[in-house]
Protein backbone atom coordinates (compact mmCIF):
# COMPACT_ATOMS: atom_id res chain seq x y z
CA UNK A 1 0.00 0.00 0.00
CA UNK A 2 2.31 2.67 -1.18
CA UNK A 3 1.49 6.24 -2.06
CA UNK A 4 0.92 5.39 -5.68
CA UNK A 5 -1.91 2.99 -4.89
CA UNK A 6 -3.57 5.47 -2.56
CA UNK A 7 -3.45 8.23 -5.16
CA UNK A 8 -4.85 5.87 -7.78
CA UNK A 9 -7.66 4.83 -5.42
CA UNK A 10 -8.59 8.45 -4.72
CA UNK A 11 -8.61 9.23 -8.43
CA UNK A 12 -10.73 6.19 -9.18
CA UNK A 13 -13.27 7.01 -6.47
CA UNK A 14 -13.60 10.60 -7.70
CA UNK A 15 -14.15 9.44 -11.26
CA UNK A 16 -16.67 6.85 -10.06
CA UNK A 17 -18.68 9.46 -8.16
CA UNK A 18 -18.62 11.72 -11.20
CA UNK A 19 -19.87 8.94 -13.46
CA UNK A 20 -22.65 7.94 -11.07
CA UNK A 21 -23.86 11.53 -10.81
CA UNK A 22 -23.68 11.92 -14.58
CA UNK A 23 -25.72 8.78 -15.16
CA UNK A 24 -28.20 9.87 -12.51
CA UNK A 25 -28.82 13.30 -14.00
CA UNK A 26 -28.92 12.19 -17.63
CA UNK A 27 -32.01 12.91 -19.65
CA UNK A 28 -34.65 10.16 -19.58
CA UNK A 29 -33.92 7.10 -21.63
CA UNK A 30 -35.58 6.93 -25.01
CA UNK A 31 -36.34 10.61 -25.67
CA UNK A 32 -33.61 12.54 -27.54
CA UNK A 33 -33.54 16.29 -26.99
CA UNK A 34 -32.44 17.63 -30.33
CA UNK A 35 -33.10 15.59 -33.41
CA UNK A 36 -33.45 18.15 -36.21
CA UNK A 37 -30.47 16.86 -38.20
CA UNK A 38 -31.51 13.24 -37.85
CA UNK A 39 -35.09 14.03 -38.83
CA UNK A 40 -33.81 15.79 -41.94
CA UNK A 41 -31.69 12.76 -42.81
CA UNK A 42 -34.52 10.34 -42.17
CA UNK A 43 -36.93 12.28 -44.36
CA UNK A 44 -34.55 13.05 -47.22
CA UNK A 45 -32.35 10.00 -47.48
CA UNK A 46 -34.46 8.39 -50.18
CA UNK A 47 -34.51 11.47 -52.41
CA UNK A 48 -30.98 12.76 -51.93
CA UNK A 49 -28.90 9.65 -51.45
CA UNK A 50 -31.22 7.24 -53.20
CA UNK A 51 -30.78 4.58 -50.54
CA UNK A 52 -33.34 2.94 -48.32
CA UNK A 53 -30.86 2.42 -45.51
CA UNK A 54 -30.37 5.61 -43.55
CA UNK A 55 -27.22 4.46 -41.79
CA UNK A 56 -25.35 3.62 -44.99
CA UNK A 57 -26.32 6.94 -46.53
CA UNK A 58 -24.95 8.73 -43.47
CA UNK A 59 -21.73 6.73 -43.52
CA UNK A 60 -20.92 7.20 -47.19
CA UNK A 61 -22.77 10.33 -48.24
CA UNK A 62 -23.55 12.83 -45.52
CA UNK A 63 -20.48 12.09 -43.43
CA UNK A 64 -18.00 10.73 -45.91
CA UNK A 65 -15.02 12.39 -44.30
CA UNK A 66 -15.48 10.31 -41.17
CA UNK A 67 -15.20 7.20 -43.27
CA UNK A 68 -12.10 8.60 -44.96
CA UNK A 69 -10.45 9.07 -41.57
CA UNK A 70 -11.50 5.60 -40.53
CA UNK A 71 -9.91 4.17 -43.67
CA UNK A 72 -6.70 6.00 -42.84
CA UNK A 73 -6.63 4.62 -39.29
CA UNK A 74 -7.31 1.08 -40.52
CA UNK A 75 -4.54 1.33 -43.08
CA UNK A 76 -2.11 2.65 -40.48
CA UNK A 77 -2.98 -0.06 -37.97
CA UNK A 78 -2.58 -2.86 -40.51
CA UNK A 79 0.75 -1.40 -41.65
CA UNK A 80 1.87 -1.22 -38.02
CA UNK A 81 0.97 -4.83 -37.26
CA UNK A 82 2.70 -6.11 -40.38
CA UNK A 83 5.78 -4.02 -39.63
CA UNK A 84 6.01 -5.22 -36.04
CA UNK A 85 5.54 -8.91 -36.67
CA UNK A 86 7.13 -9.36 -40.06
CA UNK A 87 10.73 -9.35 -38.84
CA UNK A 88 10.31 -12.64 -36.99
CA UNK A 89 9.48 -14.50 -40.16
CA UNK A 90 12.85 -14.03 -41.82
CA UNK A 91 14.96 -14.90 -38.83
Amino acid sequence: MNQRTIAASVFFIIVAIFFILAAWSMRPFGAPDQSAMDDYIIQNTQEEAGANNGVTSVVFDYRGFDTLGEATILFTAVAGVIMILRREKHE
Binding site: A23, G30, I41, I42, Q46, N52, E70
Partner: protein, 114 residues
Protein backbone atom coordinates in the same frame (compact mmCIF):
# COMPACT_ATOMS: atom_id res chain seq x y z
CA UNK B 1 -39.35 4.54 -19.11
CA UNK B 2 -36.68 2.11 -18.00
CA UNK B 3 -35.36 4.66 -15.51
CA UNK B 4 -31.96 5.27 -17.06
CA UNK B 5 -30.74 1.72 -16.63
CA UNK B 6 -28.73 1.63 -19.90
CA UNK B 7 -26.86 4.74 -18.78
CA UNK B 8 -25.90 2.92 -15.62
CA UNK B 9 -24.73 -0.01 -17.74
CA UNK B 10 -22.52 2.39 -19.71
CA UNK B 11 -21.18 3.79 -16.46
CA UNK B 12 -20.49 0.31 -15.14
CA UNK B 13 -18.63 -0.75 -18.26
CA UNK B 14 -16.44 2.35 -18.30
CA UNK B 15 -15.73 2.09 -14.57
CA UNK B 16 -14.80 -1.59 -14.80
CA UNK B 17 -12.48 -0.85 -17.70
CA UNK B 18 -10.91 2.04 -15.81
CA UNK B 19 -10.44 -0.18 -12.76
CA UNK B 20 -8.58 -2.74 -14.83
CA UNK B 21 -6.52 -0.02 -16.44
CA UNK B 22 -5.44 1.49 -13.11
CA UNK B 23 -5.10 -1.40 -10.69
CA UNK B 24 -4.20 -4.42 -12.80
CA UNK B 25 -0.58 -5.02 -13.65
CA UNK B 26 -0.96 -7.59 -16.38
CA UNK B 27 -0.69 -6.11 -19.86
CA UNK B 28 -3.36 -8.31 -21.44
CA UNK B 29 -5.75 -7.45 -18.60
CA UNK B 30 -5.13 -3.78 -19.36
CA UNK B 31 -5.92 -4.39 -23.02
CA UNK B 32 -9.16 -6.09 -21.96
CA UNK B 33 -9.93 -3.00 -19.91
CA UNK B 34 -9.44 -0.77 -22.94
CA UNK B 35 -11.80 -3.02 -24.91
CA UNK B 36 -14.41 -2.69 -22.18
CA UNK B 37 -14.15 1.11 -22.22
CA UNK B 38 -14.59 1.09 -25.98
CA UNK B 39 -17.67 -1.12 -25.69
CA UNK B 40 -19.09 1.27 -23.12
CA UNK B 41 -18.62 4.24 -25.41
CA UNK B 42 -20.30 2.37 -28.27
CA UNK B 43 -23.25 1.50 -26.06
CA UNK B 44 -23.48 5.12 -24.92
CA UNK B 45 -23.69 6.41 -28.50
CA UNK B 46 -26.36 3.89 -29.43
CA UNK B 47 -28.31 4.65 -26.26
CA UNK B 48 -28.29 8.36 -27.08
CA UNK B 49 -29.90 7.68 -30.43
CA UNK B 50 -32.74 5.47 -29.23
CA UNK B 51 -36.34 6.59 -29.29
CA UNK B 52 -39.18 4.95 -27.47
CA UNK B 53 -41.27 2.58 -29.64
CA UNK B 54 -39.23 3.29 -32.75
CA UNK B 55 -38.05 1.17 -35.66
CA UNK B 56 -34.65 0.98 -37.31
CA UNK B 57 -33.87 3.75 -39.84
CA UNK B 58 -34.31 1.47 -42.84
CA UNK B 59 -37.17 1.90 -45.27
CA UNK B 60 -37.09 -1.53 -46.92
CA UNK B 61 -40.48 -3.04 -46.04
CA UNK B 62 -40.52 -1.31 -42.68
CA UNK B 63 -43.75 -1.27 -40.71
CA UNK B 64 -43.67 2.53 -40.50
CA UNK B 65 -43.80 4.79 -37.51
CA UNK B 66 -41.04 6.87 -35.98
CA UNK B 67 -37.43 5.89 -36.51
CA UNK B 68 -34.41 5.95 -34.24
CA UNK B 69 -31.61 8.37 -35.03
CA UNK B 70 -29.18 7.24 -37.76
CA UNK B 71 -26.15 9.46 -37.09
CA UNK B 72 -25.01 7.87 -33.78
CA UNK B 73 -25.35 4.44 -35.37
CA UNK B 74 -23.09 5.49 -38.24
CA UNK B 75 -20.49 6.87 -35.84
CA UNK B 76 -20.56 3.66 -33.82
CA UNK B 77 -20.14 1.65 -37.00
CA UNK B 78 -16.83 3.30 -37.81
CA UNK B 79 -15.81 3.11 -34.16
CA UNK B 80 -16.11 -0.68 -34.01
CA UNK B 81 -13.78 -1.34 -36.94
CA UNK B 82 -11.28 1.18 -35.61
CA UNK B 83 -11.51 -0.58 -32.26
CA UNK B 84 -10.54 -3.99 -33.60
CA UNK B 85 -7.66 -2.57 -35.64
CA UNK B 86 -6.25 -0.69 -32.67
CA UNK B 87 -6.73 -3.78 -30.50
CA UNK B 88 -4.61 -5.82 -32.88
CA UNK B 89 -1.91 -3.14 -32.81
CA UNK B 90 -1.90 -3.12 -28.99
CA UNK B 91 -1.67 -6.90 -28.79
CA UNK B 92 1.23 -6.88 -31.25
CA UNK B 93 3.05 -4.51 -28.94
CA UNK B 94 2.27 -6.81 -26.01
CA UNK B 95 3.75 -9.78 -27.87
CA UNK B 96 6.84 -7.73 -28.69
CA UNK B 97 7.24 -6.66 -25.04
CA UNK B 98 6.90 -10.26 -23.88
CA UNK B 99 9.63 -11.38 -26.24
CA UNK B 100 11.98 -8.70 -24.96
CA UNK B 101 11.39 -8.95 -21.22
CA UNK B 102 9.90 -12.48 -20.77
CA UNK B 103 7.23 -10.98 -18.58
CA UNK B 104 3.83 -9.37 -18.83
CA UNK B 105 4.04 -7.48 -15.55
CA UNK B 106 4.12 -3.73 -15.93
CA UNK B 107 6.41 -3.23 -12.96
CA UNK B 108 8.89 -5.81 -14.24
CA UNK B 109 9.05 -4.12 -17.60
CA UNK B 110 9.56 -0.75 -16.01
CA UNK B 111 12.24 -2.03 -13.62
CA UNK B 112 14.25 -3.73 -16.32
CA UNK B 113 14.13 -0.61 -18.36
CA UNK B 114 15.95 1.49 -15.79
Amino acid sequence: MIYNLPYFAVMGLILVGLFALIFKRNLIKMVIGITLIESGVNLFLITLGYRENSTAPIYTSSPGGIMSLPVPQALTLTSIVIGVAVLALMLSFVILIYRHYKSLDVNEVRRLRE
